[in-house]
Symmetry: C2
Subunit: 737 residues, 2 copies
């Protein structure tokens, strides 16, 4: 019998339910500053040091002010001369001025180097989110009924971006890697999620307002308290500040008891009412329901798509011709009943996951296409660098694998493929890093785990988890279902193997131990190879040994005639084993939100009187590839616009005609705000103008060629530069603002 | 105040939850027989008549047998001569033989003309389903845990077919019609589904085994009883048979009481235990859950995707530039907690819907692209033909609209587009019909409703519902949310309109009615135009009228000085109205299952010793477009296979290499069974052989051209016939079975 401790994988606990705490951990690093994103102001290590000395200086100055205040009062009480008192007051005021100056420096230090880092980050996010919501990229669900926290709709452009991202995911992973895609239901019976460990362990700690019953996430309250204290209360000592920072860094590791103790110690109350809070207790994050009419079959909305793949392993292995390695993939909805969702699209109660389970022989984790990614170089943040306070740095993937930083080739291959996937979508490679899980973040069975983290205005966000989960999941379901989820390696010719044989002599054992015989037999049979060989040696030399039987809780004497231990040679035709699973798991909504932020920028209008919003989506993900504008309202131009529209439809290019009489500049601004990469302006009956969104450059192309030019660029067959090279440039300002 | 009766749309009640009853309704018709589908044997009207006369003849013969039996017994009792008795027995035996012959004829009549119709239908389905499950097109979910009724996984080929169907749906509807696609969550708060009527009315009637508690659908039990009786009990009278058939035809309309009475009358018991059954009571088909940790916010998994669109109407209308008509679309999961799911993929607890809500001015339901579908001709089954016992016939869509059979152009346009969509997927046009809802099937508010029904081994299955739901849904959500979901038509210049003004004179009314004044004022203001003008006329002629105030429950006398009624002219700048909704709603899983059946056939192997399975999917939906086979295991051929595979990947053609040493015939059979349309066999280093699945014809093509040839045919740029014309034919038998 095997004992499996159903610990939850790190992809669950630190996945979508624990990310915020990591945002404020001690391991934030300073990435390259991007000129387009002015809100990134980071504390360098020297600044962190100056914060500490400033807190000390402030405390000293505060004491000095108090001492001088007492002195002034003493002088007054002693009826000192006006001159003496005035001099003392002047000194006091000067001390107060110095204190106030230190306060300002400290305020700047805790909120960013120039004092408005957090502010500009907020402002950037606000501008992006305003545009996203106004143009219906996404909107709170059920708005007319005042919505539901953590549920969002994708409106038309957001839905198109999502469908483009998923289509590219299918192309990049499923098609190019010949994966077996499956599609399983969201409704899942309890037995499956009991086996996976979710029913028992997929929880967050919650506290309740003892009077109103309102629920809060315990770690969020503690985190908010610490952050507030650190940022707004300048009077706390350097020691207190260090303590609060330590709490923030270890938040994820706190037990319910420890969390409750801290909440009591700091006197934290319910944010809305200031009422006292209950002790923290676990709340299961799965949406529960009941399958069928009887009320006797509990079920849950799946919290991840992976389990649907694991339970199908046997069929999929057969479908693959009983060969390893192979990968199965699934795109689908997952559900987590968050206690108090925040951070917009980053923490929601329903989201789309795209997951891959790559099944591999644990004794051979090489990958046939590994050489294709070996020379990729990007930001990696190995465990050791995190522990020693360094920052992420560019590492050649091949080096990370060969040095053993990344556990194996297959894991490395997927890290490389994820890097290519994200950057091709338009994620800024300088704000993308692969962070290795620390030892305490990883489940005990995991061999290695890396998160693709993308930096946005909320900090570094885990968007893809890439874990080598070893044999855990298949073993768990084998155990619970009784169906062996194993693979076999057939030997080309039978192999001779040595096998340990432990044969208790039941008659002798029965005579010696009577009613306890069964316990002793089981304990003998349960010995591992090392233990058995030690016993064999001891019996041969001494004739008797003391042997601990855990089910009896005591030692018993084992004699030579009671057990035979030997090694026998056997012929085997195959090796049967549980495959390892390497799991890249993509949070599609998080990737899309980060993509929105990385693509968003503003630029002044031509008149310079306003800032215009632009999303620089690559054609691959742009919601609409092209707009068609008749320059003026005119039947001839409109007819040509319709002809071009028809050829775009035939070519499969999503587009929109805008025949409103609005100025061409306004129409460009409207489509820039949707991230449409190309606009075709019909300004003659022979040639039309094609404008590229980011450069605002324009070329002249014949009417019948226009759709094909746009198609060739959006399909990636040529670049805008090629087009710019080939076609005459548009020079008149009439079609631009 | 408006009163809305929250009746459920027919797309809900007769949609996925009531389809089976329709399968046995009186309106089945005889379609063209397909040689490939030998199981279609239908009862013609003359046969139905003969069934009735056979039942009568059988009953008469039965009486005759009984009478003769009595006579024989009487003869024996009267000690008649042996000769007399023998003669009587001989006559009795001859009567019994005649009875048995009539029984056989009747048996044949009730189960199909040649007596094995139902059998071959069953056998066909079994062959198709065996292949589908064995090749993992779909499989019962959570199989290793013994599954859950009504939940299925799509395995790799099924998942690919589904994703191709959805991609084509997006192309055919969203892209070509410029629809606004949205993506809303499955988790839905109660208030939304309360407004839509689902919380109160989305139910099926259930009965419980009174001892074990096992639940059954009440109508299913009654239906099964009637069918069983009709098919297996040949002794029932023609009158009884007619009664049972009437019950089957009206099953959908039976109330809980009527259903319970029938169950009692027929003595129906629990099928598994024969225990007595409870009275029928409604069971809500939605999966219920709780949103957030408080337990105070009930929610449901959405039973359809449409509500997510309706609640967003205001934003979408704005996004569309405040212009009508426009359509919004959504693809997503929907959930129905069926009481006892059966019929495989046709009735499941979780399924993918693709829904369109086309919003249109109720005063103008024309469609700009209507002329593109006007000449389509296909099987339609209008209400009148169903009522008069006729069958579906080919009708030109334009005629159906112009004669008013189809309510309006927009509805007609969508019927045409649905026809094109389904037939392009590979649905057999002779087994597809558009059936109009009968008056009693339609919700009271619906203007018209047509179902696209596809015939498969289970009968005619509703796969797409196309309904003009008028303003019902938007009104329901306006009312409940308080947010007006309306559109406005701006007049190019203000229009003068006459408006009725009812002005109660409160002072006089107060003097006359004191405490009841308010009731009288409200009743006066609530008069419609006709009532008000009648009162005005009466007051002018008589000076006083009796007026019924319903909130007082009595008449009161109204005098001329108590109310002023007049018509005033006003200038209006716009007309504000609630748009009508035309809703095509696609059950994707049902379409796919019917497509599987329509595509499946068997043909003998070359040796003639077995039947091989083939799916004749068009390239558009085929799960894999192409396989690549090296003819023999050989490095050179394998290298070329890899080169071709790479160019197929670049061209975006999903494919598979099979380098096993299996015979080429077996490899063809394997891919035919997956419906792969083309196979490239590498049998030289210069040219390769391309084989088409259904014709088994083969051409020779250069290695570098192979991928492009396959791409051009799968993309629909040319046909296989074009290829066959252009390239040399393969003549050797080596690459065929």
């Amino acid at each position: 019998m095997r004992f499996l401790i159903p610990l939850i994988s790190s992809s669950i606990t630190s996945g979508h339910s624990r990310i915020t705490s990591r945002l404020l951990s001690a391991h934030l690093t300073k990435p390259q500053l991007s000129t387009l994103h002015p809100f990134f102001n980071y504390q360098t290590p020297s600044m962190a040091a100056s914060e500490e000395s400033l807190r000390k200086a402030l405390a000293e100055k505060q004491s000095a002010v108090e001492a001088h205040g007492n002195a002034v009062r003493a002088l007054k009480a002693a009826k000192a001369t006006k001159q003496e008192i005035d001099a003392a007051i002047e000194a006091l005021n000067s001390l107060k001025l110095e204190k106030s100056s230190i306060e300002k420096q400290l305020q700047a230090a805790v909120s960013g180097s120039d004092g408005d880092g957090a502010l500009s980050r907020e402002a950037f996010r606000q501008a992006a989110v305003n545009t996203l919501e106004r143009r219906l990229f996404y909107i709170p669900s059920f708005k007319i009924y005042r919505g539901v926290a953590g549920l969002y709709d994708y409106g038309p452009p957001g839905c198109a971006v999502k469908s483009n991202v998923l289509a590219f995911w299918r192309q990049h992973f499923v098609l190019e890697e010949n994966m077996l895609e499956v599609d399983c239901p969201c409704v899942t019976p309890e037995v499956v999620l009991k086996a996976s460990g979710h029913v028992d362990k997929f929880t967050d700690l919650m506290v309740k307002d003892e009077k109103t019953g309102t629920c809060y996430r315990a770690d969020h309250l503690l985190k908010d308290f610490c952050n507030e204290k650190l940022q707004k209360d300048l009077t706390i000592s350097a020691e207190k500040a260090a303590e609060l920072k330590h709490v923030l860094a270890t938040l994820d590791d706190l037990s319910a008891e420890a969390l409750g103790a801290k909440i009591k110690e700091y006197g934290i109350t319910a944010p809305d009412t200031k009422n006292p809070l209950s002790d923290p207790y676990p709340f299961n994050l799965m949406f529960q329901t009941s399958i069928g009419p009887s009320g006797l079959s509990p079920g849950y909305m799946r919290p991840e798509t992976a389990q649907g793949i694991f339970v199908n392993f046997k069929d999929l292995y057969y479908y693959n011709g009983n060969k390893l390695p192979f990968a199965a993939a699934q795109i689908g909805q997952a559900f987590r009943n968050e206690i108090s969702p925040r951070q917009g699209l980053l923490r929601v109660r329903e989201f789309t996951l795209a997951e891959i389970e790559h099944f591999v022989d644990p004794e051979d984790k090489s990958h046939p296409k590994y050489s294709q990614v070996v020379d990729l170089e990007f930001l990696m943040f190995p465990r050791d660098e995190q522990m020693s306070g360094q920052s992420a740095k560019k590492i050649r993937l091949g080096d990370a694998v060969s040095k053993g930083t990344v556990n194996n080739e297959t894991l490395g291959y997927f890290i490389g493929r994820v890097y290519l996937f994200l950057t091709r979508l338009g994620i800024d490679k300088d704000r993308l890093r692969f962070r290795q899980h620390l030892a305490n973040e990883m489940a005990h069975y995991a061999a290695d785990c890396w998160d693709a983290e993308i930096e946005c205005s909320y900090g570094w966000i885990e968007c893809v988890g890439i874990a080598d989960r070893s044999a855990y999941d298949l073993c768990a379901h084998s155990d619970k279902s009784g169906v062996p989820l194993v693979a076999a390696e057939k030997f080309s010719e039978p192999r001779e193997v040595e096998k340990l044989v432990i044969a208790p002599v039941k008659k002798e054992l029965g005579l010696a131990f009577k009613g306890s015989q069964k316990n002793v037999v089981e304990a003998l049979e349960a010995m591992n190879e090392k233990e058995a060989l030690e016993m064999k040696a001891a019996l041969e030399s001494k004739g008797e040994v003391e042997f601990y039987v855990c089910t009896l809780g005591k030692n018993v004497p084992i004699k030579k005639n009671m057990v035979s231990i030997s090694k026998e040679k056997k012929k085997e035709h195959q090796r049967v084993f549980t495959p390892s699973v390497i799991e890249p798991s993509f949070g599609i909504g998080r990737i899309i939100y980060c993509l929105f932020e990385h693509s968003f920028y503003t630029r002044p209008s031509k008149a310079g009187d306003e800032q215009l919003n632009v999303f620089r989506f690559p054609p691959l993900v742009a919601p609409i590839k092209c707009t068609v504008f008749p320059l003026v309202q005119n039947q001839q131009y409109e007819d040509i616009a319709k002809v071009i529209s028809k050829s775009l439809t035939t070519a499969g290019i999503s587009h929109k005609i805008d025949i409103t009489g609005t100025s061409i500049g306004k129409r460009y601004a409207r489509t820039d705000e949707l991230g449409v990469p190309f606009a075709i302006t019909v300004d003659s009956t022979k040639d039309v103008t094609i404008r590229e969104r980011d450069s605002k450059l324009q070329v002249r192309v014949g009417v019948e060629e226009a759709a094909l030019v746009v198609k060739s660029v959006t399909d990636g067959l040529r670049t805008w530069e090629d087009v710019w090279e080939k076609y005459p440039h548009h020079t008149s300002g009439s079609a631009d603002d």
